[in-house]
Subunit: 457 residues, 2 copies
């Protein structure tokens, strides 16, 4: 089909917006492996999971068969406040690169949380509310997920208790304050409010916390407080499901203009954005209806796809959560302190891991200083100051477009621009001042961490 004249930004009308989320697992021959109970080695039952998570979300988590889930009206109304997100044709970037490639990006940063995380936050808060719960607990590192969840809970009038890694709590006061604007309580972790927090504080009095510890505190608070459940912003199947809105909007917008992407690129930490962006396209590939290349981009400092192992592992450093089969660097793996952006999770979504293992996706790792250089170039030509995470995808897209310049191929590239970098300016400053390093873990570091993988019966 010949292309219609493409505007700089494609916004769907409300009528064109998706009414369902798409569950990629329904079209996978090899389903993602189930979560296992670390004690028994057996698959976690719905009942076990419902002690921690909301009932409806557990049902979504375990459903490998239903392809389409209707998006409840109340969530669709909330989506209308900040969605559809624009699908942008990067005319200025193309011109700067002098490439015959056509570059598109789906921009998820136009909301106060500054990222795509809000897509799942509102869904999870909604189901918690439907269940008659009083509130939810969660952890947050840099604060993107915590902010998104705070916005969703503020809107629905649900209590929200966020455990924020102490060093971020102190170094990122802005994120903390945004959460408070939306009415959340924000507790620096480790804290005196939980058993696990008190234990860690007794053992390591001066600790500034870790994501693993914050998860443990949030889970403990959820299971020990009547009317509360725990929610998580990435990795889980349910999160991939909610994030499919990104890919579905992208596909509807591209179809409308007769555009078919050749390559689809996303940054990958736990996989929520990548999984959402590729969902409907991957569905077509799985069903043999169309072919696309998919590229996951991860930091060289935390390379779970490219240097990790496909095995069962704990989702958290504290080893209290169920085991998931995924590409992992070992739950004890910690990216270097010089690593600036997000994407620091040791593992990867089980769904994406299975697709990668089955050869449906590629993965590349990129160096941090190159990522910031790409971010800055992008900001100057396209206007948007990207989050460092998103800039991983920018760099890979730019590299792909440069290859097209060499070969003369007119490829169509779609990448996910997950968010803005307004709260990452300390990292940008480091980059400007030449203080940023690219850090690559040694083979020994990774082997040491992988040696701790749990034995699964």
């Amino acid at each position: 089909m010949s292309e219609k004249k493409i505007p700089y930004k494609i916004y769907l009308s409300e009528d064109e917006m998706p009414r369902t989320w798409y569950n990629l697992r329904a079209d996978m021959k090899n389903k993602p492996a189930p979560l296992l109970d670390p004690g028994t080695g057996k698959p976690m039952t719905a009942e076990q999971l419902e002690a921690v998570f909301c009932k409806e979300l557990v049902a979504q988590e375990l459903d490998n068969d239903t392809a389409h889930f209707e998006i409840p009206q109340e969530i669709r109304d909330f989506y209308k406040m900040y969605r559809p997100s624009p699908l942008v044709r990067a005319y200025c970037l193309e011109e700067k690169l002098q490439t015959p490639a056509k570059i598109y990006y789906k921009f998820e940063g136009n909301n106060t949380s500054g990222s795509h995380k809000l897509n799942s936050a509102i869904a999870q808060a909604y189901y918690a509310k439907c269940q008659g719960l009083k509130g939810v607990t969660t952890e947050t590192g840099a604060g993107q997920w915590g902010t998104a969840l705070s916005m969703a809970c503020g809107y629905l009038g649900l209590d929200c208790r966020v455990f924020m890694v102490k060093c971020s709590y102190e170094q990122k006061p802005f994120r903390r304050e945004v959460m408070k604007v939306y009415g959340s309580s924000v507790t620096p972790s480790p804290s005196e409010t939980t058993n696990v927090g008190r234990k860690i504080l007794a053992e390591f009095p001066g600790t500034t916390g870790s994501l693993g510890c914050a998860i443990s505190e949030a889970v403990e608070t959820a299971v020990s407080t009547p009317g509360y459940r725990y929610v998580l912003g990435s990795v889980l199947n349910q999160v991939m499901l909610h994030q499919s809105i990104i890919g579905m909007e992208s596909k509807i917008a591209m179809d409308k203009y007769g555009v078919k992407p050749d390559v689809i690129i996303g940054c990958a930490g736990g996989g929520s954005n990548l999984g959402g962006l590729i969902a409907p396209f991957m569905g077509e590939k799985l069903r043999g209806e169309a072919d696309y290349r998919f590229i996951a981009v991860e930091p060289a400092s935390c390379p779970s796809f490219t240097r990790g192992k496909f095995a069962y592992d704990f989702c958290d450093t504290g080893m209290v959560c169920p085991l998931a089969k995924m590409y992992t660097l070992g739950s004890g793996f910690m990216p270097s302190a010089d690593h600036a952006g997000g994407l620091r999770f040791h593992g990867m979504s089980s769904t994406l891991s299975q697709l990668y293992a089955d050869g449906y996706m590629e993965a590349v790792s990129v160096n941090q200083t190159d990522v910031f250089a790409a971010a800055e170039d992008f900001a100057r030509v396209e206007g948007i100051l990207p989050a460092p995470e998103s800039a991983h995808a920018i760099l890979a897209a730019v590299n792909e477009a440069k290859r097209c310049r060499e070969t003369g191929e007119e490829k169509t590239i779609l990448f996910g621009l997950t968010g803005t970098g307004y709260f990452d300016l300390v990292a940008y400053e480091k980059y400007h001042n030449g203080e940023m390093k690219s850090v690559i873990p040694s083979d020994e570091d990774i082997a040491r961490s992988l040696a701790q993988l749990p034995q699964v019966k």
Copy 2:
């Protein structure tokens, strides 16, 4: 006309976007008074102004007759990167307020500079580039205007030298870093790089600077550096002209759905946002084609419309700029140190001042703590974290909607949401911690400052 079903957000298509700026002055019977040379008391000539400002911008500044200026293609292309801005129907806010009023806001915050300032920044940078200049200079306080200009110059490859009030430079490192991402040089003011800076530093060694001083340094640098001119982000007629894009898009969007606002509300500092938002509506009122109420909202701590005097005054504290006839509190007026948001300029656009003097507009002043309360309520129901400046308009719109609840009137309210508050979280934190005061200058303070108004021959 009956209303069509109104979506949450109205985005114009590229074809529907305005191709001209509208010059309100063309329809004013009483034109705004001309800028005067403070030495001679005579109107500034184009030649005099061109020593400081770009030639084409001077022509726009002095033109009281041309109603429509074509927007150059290059600027329209840049606008397409972040415009059209959404016209939002505030369904959630209406429901929260249980008001029969219909509330709309034009949201200008979806770009990295975080505000409407970019609309004029790109225009001014473009004309500087057309004139073959190497670069431009400017001052910035909190950094919104400096960021916008940096983005525009980064895009056009023009050098940009920003003098940033020293206390902001130190306290708002994030804004400073954003400007650097876009390639600007940012100098804390007062600095050793100018005569006026050195003089002030010698006189007041520990000073943390002021906007007036930064203006003086920026102007001195522009006139003493070959290939440079000075640019300004508010107050001037040319800025109102560029900002008319806000009102024109709003009007096209409303016309499309058969909606006519009864009341149009904007916050007012120097007047750039308010002047832009009301432009085409005020044009209709001036030509007798339609009637609207217009409300300027200013902080009680800097009440130029409501407590100032309509007189000739200096635009800057340093008394080096030309004299403008405007509502002013005196160029020596400084809002209390407890004043948190922007809108701290002592005067007001000459165009808006004339309209206010002629009875075409109303003005109200509001207290800072009420403004932050309205901002927080708004964030929770509409999602967007507003800039404190924008929240002045929110508060006035909410008050209007509450009156409709009392009277049962189904008024249509349009207000300008100029930007986001991501870089204003120190102020939000103060508000949360109960440390924020509402500060109202005494009659004596204002009288003392007004006593210093220049004598015009």
